[in-house]
Amino acid sequence: MNFKSTIGLEVHFELKTKSKIFSPSPVSYGAPVNTETNVIDWAMPGVLPKLNKDVYRLGIMVALATHSHILPTTHFDRKNYFYPDNPKAYQITQFFQPLARDGYIEVEVRGKKKRIGIHEMHIEEDAGKNTHGTNGYSYVDLNRQGVPLLEVVSEPDMEDPEEAYAYLTKLRQIVQFTGASDVKMEEGSMRVDTNISIRPAGQKELGNKVEMKNLNSFDHVRRSLAYEEQRQQQVLLSGGRVQVSTRRFDDATGKTVLERVKEGDADYRYFPEPDIAPDHISQEWIDEIEASLPESPFARRKRYVEEYGIKEYDADVILQTKESSDFYDATVAAGADPKLAANWLNTQVNGYLNEEQVEIQDIKLTPENLAQIIKMIKDGTISSKIAKKVFKESIENGTDPKKYVEDKGMVQLSDLSVLEPMVKKVVDANPQSVEDFKNGKDRAIGFLVGQIMKETRGKANPKVVNELLNKELQSR
């Protein structure tokens, strides 16, 4: 029997604001416990929420970047549930009138293009964090309470784990390039819940849904979905019923584990939040935000490949993060040859980042300095070998490459008035090499180049020396 899978994804992004969504408490990652809180975050009696304008701005950016329809009037709602990390015992979210609906993104899986629909996206507040102790107590930190979130809910359009993986990769890239979120799964600024059901091919109605929450990585998403496909098939083939349930992925075994069976939906008693007035999103504001949108990854890729002539693979490596793409663009803008810049970024710079486990935005090398190094190679001021030395110095200490090359006397010797007499002298002094050259032994040239390099202590431009030697030998 053949089965079809139906997969939907709910992705939460922390929006990158300076303060929380409904309170002016600062937002940063890793602040001491409960220090980024105020009376609003604590849900003290009598407090009221006040909405941060930037939350809408960033949300609208993502809506625009995913071709979503932005609702002209939105309203916040309350989702009621008790939990220690949820101080008001309700979460302020958008249930009835979300920020946007009906968007899509395009993915490519196994060479085929496919549109994955976005059902809706809404703005809401994050909860605090509970740490479970071993002494019968849990500990609550409210720093994360009220951090703005954008939840993007896909249509159940994905039919296998690869499509889900492709959707996530694309969605992360799109969101990242708007600058609306850091999209770091390891820091929780991007969180993924999935749901999957399967049904025998030909059957119309969907099978029972299994939900998996807070998956740690894209890899876990792919593996857990693949495991679930198999597991649910086996259940159905053996005549069983898939339970509507929440399951957890266990990295060590590669299996999913039952967390709890759902008996009807949780009753969150959603109703319109009376403490916040409705929000009218004007077309003017949307246009203004659209005009400020950073160039999309697709537009950048097209520019890299078609205008700069760099390989698609190299373009994709550069486009893995907005920061690296921004770095690349700045390097080119500072005058570097685009192809050389791509090579240097993808090999030398990435090599350094991997080795040092740092991010491109945290290194001392500036795009301007990288551009200078590339320009000096191109115009023959320095050799590739020297360039690597200069690069190391510049990325480790932030040293200005041009000044460094000059101070250290690393400039290549290309001056013909110096090199020509030197070549003549060396050829005169080595008649055996001239003989060998005439007899077709190419090695002879290598020996002569070596002599000149020795004489100039390595600074002679090898390209120029080669040309001069060839000319001189042929004239003998």
């Binding site: 409960n34 809180t37 304008k53 008996e263």
Partner: protein, 101 residues
């Protein structure tokens, strides 16, 4: 008439994080039945095509600029906490999250 049973009251009490003794349950079931049926008089009003009013405000799109402000001090915020440790709020162990059904 909406019929309200003890089971209904127990269910709603669960959602509300309240509990009642058997005696109280008896009393509350009766009272809540009366109150809910009083409230249910609204069912007879024709509200076809009538929009909802959930607030009566003369403003919309009320925003705050994204400017962070630090509250001084954490200790002040924690003064009322019944049990605390090292800057955390301390609560007896959490058993289950979503028993909201």
């Amino acid at each position: 008439m909406v019929k309200i049973t003890k089971e209904d009251i127990k269910h709603v009490a669960g959602l509300s994080r309240l509990e009642f003794s058997e005696d109280e349950l008896e009393k509350f079931t009766e009272q809540m039945g009366d109150i809910i049926n009083m409230a249910d008089q609204l069912a007879e009003v024709d509200t076809k095509d009538v929009p909802e009013t959930v607030q009566v405000v003369d403003r919309d799109t009320v925003f705050r600029e994204d400017k962070p402000e630090h509250w001084e001090t954490r200790e002040e915020l924690m003064e009322n906490v019944p049990e605390k440790a090292d800057g955390y709020i301390k609560v007896p162990v959490i058993i289950d999250k979503d028993d909201n059904a």
